[in-house]
């Protein structure tokens, strides 16, 4: 009996000792196989000049990201517009890793642009984008709370200029805001919302938000890609946390930007939960040869509104 008790005690001690080993070496979470990969970052906007192209290198996942340290210097950057067969060379500027077009060339709709980056070490990165056709939001409307009927037509920058904010004063959560447009031939749209009055007060104060949560709220936010099949997009009130002036952008996305947005773990917002955990943590679709990143394009239209708190 005594022997059995000793055996049982030893077995228990062994099992309990197993419970102590619960620490994971942080390095086990990282497999830095892509460190040093070339990264390109540029979005062409229809109707505007060619944007800067930012060239950098991927860094270790276990260190804080520093744009300065990641910047790729002394690269040769060219963008070629196929329609008119124009090649624009880029020159290096500040901040480091930023390259700007040497000539002001306007981005055309429905036009293909090719990017080529050659690093000082001779590595080559290539990508190509075909810009969407021009997006024009015909009507910004405020619907009733059930989304059935139009209560009010909003002004646009085209009709009201900078006074659009004063013209479009909306009470938070009163009605539904909707953009209506002739749908260009794109796979998806994206919404971007900017609170442009720094320091404006909150429009709501969720009881379950701590002060720290409120302080961490960004004044700009974006949506996942949305199909908007019927040429309408409804803007959710949950994107608004602040009073005051807001600029709301609608982007018609090219194929590259669409694929990137729908596949990048942080932003996918698809039918299931995304994020950087489980099967959702997957490599985005880049459409970049010789590196990663985004060389995409979009056609953008905007409206300005002024959000008032609820009475």
């Amino acid at each position: 009996m005594q022997r059995r008790r000793i055996q049982a005690g030893l077995a228990t001690a062994f099992v309990l000792s197993l419970g102590c080993a619960t620490k994971h070496d942080p390095n086990d979470f990282f497999a830095p196989g892509d460190v040093g990969t070339l990264v390109v970052n540029a979005l062409l906007q229809v109707g505007r000049s060619l944007p800067p192209v930012i060239v950098s290198r991927a860094v270790s996942p276990g260190v804080e990201y520093s744009p300065l340290a990641a910047a790729e210097l002394q690269a040769t950057v060219r963008v070629r517009e196929l329609l008119r067969d124009i090649t624009v060379t880029y020159v290096e500027t500040t901040p480091p890793g930023t390259y700007v077009a040497s000539a002001p060339v306007q981005v055309l709709p429905s036009t293909t642009y090719e990017l080529e980056v050659v690093t000082a070490a001779g590595e080559t990165l290539r990508s190509q984008t075909t810009t969407p056709s021009r997006l024009l939001v015909d009507r910004w409307v405020l619907l009733d709370a059930q989304g059935q009927t139009v209560q009010r037509e909003l002004e646009t920058f085209a009709t009201a200029g900078d006074s659009v904010y004063q013209a479009n004063r909306l009470v938070y959560a009163d009605g539904l805001l909707e953009a209506r447009f002739r749908r260009p031939d794109v796979e998806a749209f994206q919404l971007g919302l900017f609170s442009i009055d720094p320091g404006s007060d909150f429009v709501i104060r969720p009881e379950f938000f701590s002060d720290e949560d409120l302080a961490n709220l960004d004044r700009q936010t974006s949506s996942p890609p949305i199909e908007g099949r019927d040429g309408t997009l409804r803007i959710p009130w949950f994107a608004f946390f602040f009073q005051g002036r807001h600029q709301l952008n609608v982007l018609a996305l090219d194929h590259n930007a669409f694929d990137f947005l729908r596949s990048v773990p942080q932003d996918n917002g698809g039918i299931a939960f995304g994020g950087t955990s489980g099967s959702a943590f997957d490599r985005p679709i880049f459409h970049v040869e010789g590196g990663i990143g985004l060389f995409g394009s979009a056609s953008i239209d905007s409206v300005g509104i002024f959000v008032l708190p609820r009475p």
Binding site: A31, F194, L253, T276, S277
Partner: protein
């Protein structure tokens, strides 16, 4: 033995089979082995027929096991007086005497009385002969007595108990999802009395939907399952509820820290009924927590079972209904609320008729519905999701027995109705609806050419209106005994999966079933299993099985589909065209009698997948791949006390590590995009820490006012190891959040009978 008839062949073979000689002897004895108290049939009872030699006649000794429906039959026996000895796990053995006249067909039913609570209670599997002597590979039978002896959290849980078998893992501590032999939860068919249960969990997977007071037994086919079932690539969990047959009204109940349940059954005229309900009562605890943390939800679940059994001579009609619901509500403030209700509703009417002494016809009309309704208002933005799957199924089976053959032939028609509709910000709903039909037919023959050899062949054919597909699924099992103690087995089969489950880790409330429509191919598996069983004595049994499963046309849910896609197809929702395999070895040692019982199981496994669209086309391990899996269960009984403990050890789950950090702007935000981005490395190329856990329970029998009962104390995760669940990377900072599973959870309660 109508229900054991297994094995199958082509229709032509069936026709030939009818002409086989039936060993025309003078007399026969047949009947039903059942529980004397509850009346339910006892499957696979051990039955020995003995006739002493009279001076003017020959002696006779024959042994059989009963069928899955409790029926037995001895044909071709000489007339005379016989002793029938019947033995069954946890029941008193019984010896009856039966007189059989020349050429007579004697019918003799046998009612066994449960043994008193004590040493015998969990000594031997209910499947003792059923598993070990039949041809089928990879099948495990657990009766409810045994399931109740396994440590759990509050409720004895049939699904969670299966997680203690080698080769079977839990998706997580809070999940009843089963990873079986390297396959995901969607690859396992879960049946309740032959009705498909599409979401067999409560509390986001924490509990299964099966009330332990109603469950009679659980059969798990880990692979190479027979032709009478189909539709999943991997495994089948077949749960049978008990058939009410008590001679007077009786009841059983349980009160625990999480839920209470009550079951009543009794006679009504010549018929019998059963009602059972279960409900959680976490509200007081949650309400207390909500005072300081308003986002703590309101939550409860309930389920309800009802069964009505009619017996009229050779006809049986069983009617049953199941309904289970989970209700979750979060109302942290006036601008935000979330309500989710989900659950299953199922019902069936089963008509069984004994056509002759060796033919049984069984017809079933059943329906099953899974529904999940989400109604949310997130910061004044409405969001609604309606997600449901209904099936209406008619099924007919004919079981025949002749000489060395037991044949089953059946057909099934299922009408499905898939609905998914979501509305965001009061915009018009988007989603999909599909109403396909599936017609299936099977033939299944178990042939015993010699006493030591059993060959089970089967063919299942399926026609699916979606894509107009005709699928052929042959099945084969062979078993041969080498002496009294050793038996070798081989099993193989082809399986196709038309319904695909989209689920989220740790949150089964939004489970979505999607048909694999004409846009892609349904998944296909080819399984092969080889095993050996060695029984040194009634106390000890050892087994080893090795398996290989080849998988093609696999799909993997993709998060790349835009949220407002309307009328989406399977190709929109899944990465398609995947291939893969799962292979491994399982070892199992079991002590089944004595004060100390239990088992030790070990599984060594590999599982791999490859998709052109994933991981750069490179092969990767799915998250349910486990190299090592060790399970130990130990029970000690010394009346009135019972102690049991279980220990699990498994290789950590695979996860995808981060391979780099980079910066690319969000198109809509431009240079105002915060932080950097984390790049995923090779898919599932790292491992969480090994998983291990010990559970422990103590039970004591008591009697109160002449009624028996038990109180119990259970400890889930006795040494409170915080096993890793999953990993989340941070965009802003180079840190990693490891989300861990449950700490120690004690629970206590009492169960009683009256």
């Amino acid at each position: 033995m109508f229900e054991r008839p297994v094995a199958g062949r082509l229709v032509a073979l069936c026709v030939a089979w009818v002409g086989l000689p039936c060993g025309a002897q003078a007399a026969s004895i047949s009947g039903l082995v059942r529980d004397a108290e509850r009346g339910n049939p006892l499957p696979f009872a051990s039955i020995v027929l003995h006739r002493n030699a009279a001076p003017d006649s020959l002696a006779y000794e024959g042994g059989k096991m009963g069928g899955r429906d409790g029926r037995y039959r001895f044909d071709g026996i000489p007339a005379g007086a016989y002793e029938i000895r019947v033995a069954y796990v946890a029941y008193r053995a019984r010896v009856d005497t039966v007189q059989v006249g020349e050429g007579a067909d004697a019918v003799h039913d046998i009612a066994l009385t449960p043994a008193p609570i004590g040493v015998e209670k969990i000594v031997v599997d209910a499947d003792r002969l059923g598993r070990e002597k039949s041809a089928q590979t990879s099948v495990v039978n657990l009766d409810m007595k045994r399931l109740a002896a396994v440590p759990s959290i509050g409720e004895a849980d049939p699904i969670r108990a299966l997680q203690l078998l080698p080769g079977v893992q839990a998706a997580s501590d809070v999940s009843s999802g089963l990873y079986i032999r390297g396959g995901g939860p969607d690859q396992t068919l879960v049946l309740l009395d032959d009705i498909t249960m599409y979401n067999p969990t409560h509390a986001f997977g924490f509990f299964s939907t099966f009330n332990p007071d109603v469950v009679d037994r659980v059969t798990l086919y880990k692979g190479a399952y027979p032709a009478d079932q189909g539709g999943r690539l991997g495994a089948v969990v077949d749960i049978k509820t008990r058939t009410p047959a008590a001679s007077k009204v009786q009841g059983a109940g349980s009160i625990s820290t999480i839920a209470s349940r009550l079951t009543l059954d009794g006679p009504i005229g010549r018929d019998h009924w059963l009602l059972s309900g279960r409900r959680s009562y976490l509200e007081p605890i949650l309400s207390g927590l909500r005072r300081s943390t308003p986002e703590v939800p309101f939550y409860n679940f309930y389920d309800f079972n009802a069964k009505y059994a009619m017996r009229r001579d050779n006809n049986w009609v069983d009617t049953e209904i199941y309904k289970g619901r989970d209700n979750l509500r979060i109302e942290p403030d006036r601008d935000t609320r979330l309500t989710i209700r989900w659950g299953n509703t199922a019902g069936a009417v089963v008509f069984s008729r004994v056509l002759s002494k060796d033919a049984l016809l069984k017809s079933t009309i059943s329906g099953s519905e899974y529904e999940s309704l989400t109604d949310a208002n997130l910061f004044n933005t409405a969001f609604n999701v309606t997600n449901s799957l209904r099936d209406l199924t008619a099924r007919t089976e004919l079981h025949l027995e002749r000489a060395t053959h037991a044949l089953g032939v059946g057909g099934q028609v299922s009408l499905y109705d898939f609905k998914f509709s979501q509305s965001f910000n009061r915009d018009k709903p988007v989603g999909f609806r599909s109403q396909p039909a599936e017609i299936a037919a099977y033939v299944d023959d178990q042939w015993t050419p010699q006493a030591v050899t059993t060959i089970r062949t089967g063919l299942r054919t399926r026609y699916i209106s979606d894509g107009k597909r005709l699928l052929l699924e042959p099945r084969l099992s062979v078993s041969r005994a080498l002496g009294d103690k050793l038996r070798l087995k081989f099993g193989s089969g082809v399986y196709n999966q038309y319904l695909q489950l989209v689920t989220t880790e740790g949150f089964s409330a939004g489970d979505l079933y999607v048909p694999i429509d004409a846009s892609t191919q349904p998944g296909r598996s080819l399984q092969a299993v080889f095993g050996a069983e060695y029984e040194t004595s009634p106390r000890y049994r050892f087994s080893a099985e090795t398996y290989y499963t080849r998988l093609t046309h696999l799909v993997e849910f993709t998060t790349k589909t835009v949220a407002d896609r309307d009328n989406f197809t399977a190709r929109d929702l899944f990465d398609t065209g995947g291939t893969g395999y799962a292979t491994g070895l399982e070892l199992f040692a079991e002590r089944r009698a004595g004060r100390v019982t239990g088992w030790l199981g070990y599984a060594l496994g590999w599982s791999r997948r490859r998709f052109d669209a994933l991981n750069g086309g490179k092969t990767y391990p799915p998250k349910y791949d486990r190299r090592h899996d060790l399970k130990a269960v130990l029970a000690y009984q010394r009346s009135p006390w019972s102690y049991s403990a279980s220990f699990l050890f498994a290789t950590g789950q695979a996860f995808t590590p981060a391979s780099a950090r980079y910066q690319v702007d969000d198109p809509a935000l431009g240079d105002l995009t915060p932080g950097s981005r984390v790049l995923a490395g090779d898919r599932n190329s790292s491992r969480l820490l090994p998983y291990h856990r010990m559970d422990f329970s103590v039970t004591r029998d008591f009697a109160l006012w002449g009624r028996s009962g038990q109180w119990f104390v259970q400890f889930f995760n006795l040494y409170s190891r915080r096993n890793e669940w999953f990993v989340q990377f941070d965009d802003q900072e180079p840190k990693v959040d490891v989300v861990r599973m449950l700490p120690i959870i004690p629970s206590f309660g009492a169960s009683f009978k009256f």
